[in-house]
Point group: C2
Chain length 340, copies 2
DNA sequence: TTCGGATTTGAAATCGATTACAATTTGTTT
DNA sequence: AAACAAATTGTAATCGATTTCAAATCCGAA
């Protein structure tokens, strides 16, 4: 107990056990075709026998070119179910390729984001998947300009052409709003998130466009919001529902805002959808567990995540490729919270 | 564009720039008191000037003793909000100490768990925080016996004395059941999770004990469950509520089961709490957004996570310490889903 | 049998830090 | 001023893999 029984197998030990040089063992490990069949088999046998497993740290130190075995993730808020889905999607593909991921959760705090970038860099991650704090994030721009493999998710960079995976936020917001309009609502409010986040503005735009398309005047009093969290959802719901002129429907800008709304609506005894119709941006796998089941704009976090890693791998393999922008579609999940 | 502008500062370059040896620079980096004040200042100036930042990969390769800078996490299910809270708690303390974390989400799949252990090992993480797939997880036992720093969360190991942070599951389940009993229920069912997970059995036991304390016969027909997920919650809720003799209250064994129940209860038009009282194990920060707000046994994932990292650090500092077992209390959050 | 090219293999440097040990400098004491 | 201890610093090996370049081996053709 307590003593260290280290597995001491190394390239060198395998080499001597096999009567070859370390170089040859390394070649076998990397499936170099220049190795003679018979020695390859011999070495592989010894690798198995010794229970050897490669030391990724040594490998990463030595190897210049990125291998994609360690992926750095920069996530604005791990408590947000959407990002959990993203992480899940990334993990799925990463695992299938033998990659591990280091996660930095920066809580939409730019300083923390920087610290994490420095840390992940110091860990020599092979590439980054980032949801930038905002569109002109200088630290992340630097990363990209250095040629560090990088894929942005959810949000892009304003000044730089990088690989991006997002969703058509504007269209999603449009569909949400349009759905409410078609149900007969004209007094539709929008609770939006942090305006420094690009998606927020795209969603606001989609909301406005929908109203305009149907000749409904945009009422600025009904466009409210500050930050993208639960508390903000509560605060602005209360604010909206205590106005003299209350809306009959609300489109919430993300899942946390939606949940905040739900909390307050219960407290205020506002029945949904009878007294207030609701469509939220972001779906959750348990959205049907809400009462009534939530009508929502679904953006598949897992799909975004999967796509992002794939792009990262491609970028690592071929650094010269032009950056591309993948825009996934959203889907309106009609359930009960809007009176369907 | 595309070219690699690497920041080439290294211990050696700082050394030559400062006119000292690499050893001295390393000493400054590690705050070795043996360095003369004046040279320390000089070196630090050059470090700043060159924008140098330490390469953790090289450091980890060279250094025998664990530094705690890279923590490996093995999580059974990242989609489960409870584990997200745990991760958040870990991250909070880890970040404050400049540590990064590598996450392996093994989906309660033992093979996947093994693969991740191998990967994290190959990455030479300084320690593990693990929620073992089950109590006699051989691979994790090995880790512990090798003296690898390790803290178990949520679940311990049956055969081995290791650092553990859990919650008093039995007591929690007891409180949940007792609450329902005190509200007048006698027909109380329990939907439990995967029985290979120790916590599941502790919670079943607590449930039974509560019934027995109040002289209510335990009805095995009302103790149902298979796995710990959403679908299982749906399946067994339907099963319970279509029996000839349906329960008037259900205690669900975890949050996913609770959400599954909620989904089906809406579908079956079972009003909560009027027709069915509900208390769930696991609270969520958005439990008040459910309609009605969920009465739940709260176990603080963040507290567990925080405590776990702290124990890991302690273990790394002092490997000889006897393992200890921390059992946190649960709290009954009385809200509306049980008729309060 | 010998030569030239293709196949295989090995020696040694390298990635960037740490550290044991030795060497040097400094300061104190007689 | 000599002698010795304490305070600083440097040299060189090391962690475990990869990679360049050269050396050794093999093969068929002349």
């Amino acid at each position: 107990m307590g003593q260290i029984i280290k597995n001491n197998a190394s390239v060198k030990s395998i080499a001597t056990a096999s009567g070859v040089s370390a170089a040859t063992v390394s070649r076998v490990l990397n499936a170099d075709p220049a190795v003679k069949e018979s020695t390859r088999i011999l070495v592989q046998k010894n690798i198995k026998k010794a229970g050897y497993s490669l030391n990724r740290v040594a490998q990463r130190l030595r190897t210049k070119k990125k291998t994609g075995r360690l992926i750095g993730l920069l996530i604005p808020d791990i408590q947000n179910p959407f990002y959990v889905d993203v992480i899940r999607g990334i993990e799925e593909i990463a695992y299938a390729n033998g990659s591990a991921m280091v996660i930095g959760n920066f809580s939409q705090d730019e300083d923390k984001e920087r610290v994490y970038i420095d840390i992940l860099r110091a860990e020599s991650v092979d590439g980054f998947i980032v949801a930038p704090a905002h569109g002109r994030d200088h630290y992340i721009e630097e990363l990209a300009m250095e040629g560090y493999p990088l894929v942005c998710i959810d949000r892009g960079l304003t000044n730089l052409n990088v690989d991006v995976v997002t969703v058509d936020n504007q269209e999603g917001a449009y569909k949400a709003t349009e759905h409410l309009i078609k149900l007969g609502h004209r007094k539709i409010a929008h609770i939006h998130g942090d305006k420094s986040i690009p998606t927020t503005n795209e969603r606001i735009l989609g909301y406005k466009l929908a109203l305009q398309s149907y000749d409904i005047p945009v009422n600025d009093k009904w466009i409210v919001g500050m930050s993208s969290d639960f508390e903000s959802g509560k605060f602005y719901t209360r604010k909206l529902m205590t106005m003299q002129d209350t809306p009959t429907a609300i489109f919430t800008g993300n899942n946390l805002l939606t949940l905040g709304l739900l909390d307050i609506s219960y407290q205020m005894k506002i029945e949904i959808p009878k007294m207030l119709a609701l469509v939220g941006f972001d779906d959750m796998y348990w959205a049907t567990s809400l009462n009534p089941p939530l009508t929502a704009i679904r953006q598949s976090g897992t799909a975004i995540g999967r796509r992002a890693v794939e792009m990262l791998y491609r970028q690592i393999e071929n650094p010269e490729r032009e950056p591309s922008r993948v825009i996934l579609k959203t889907e309106l999940m009609v359930r009960k919270s809007c009176g369907s």
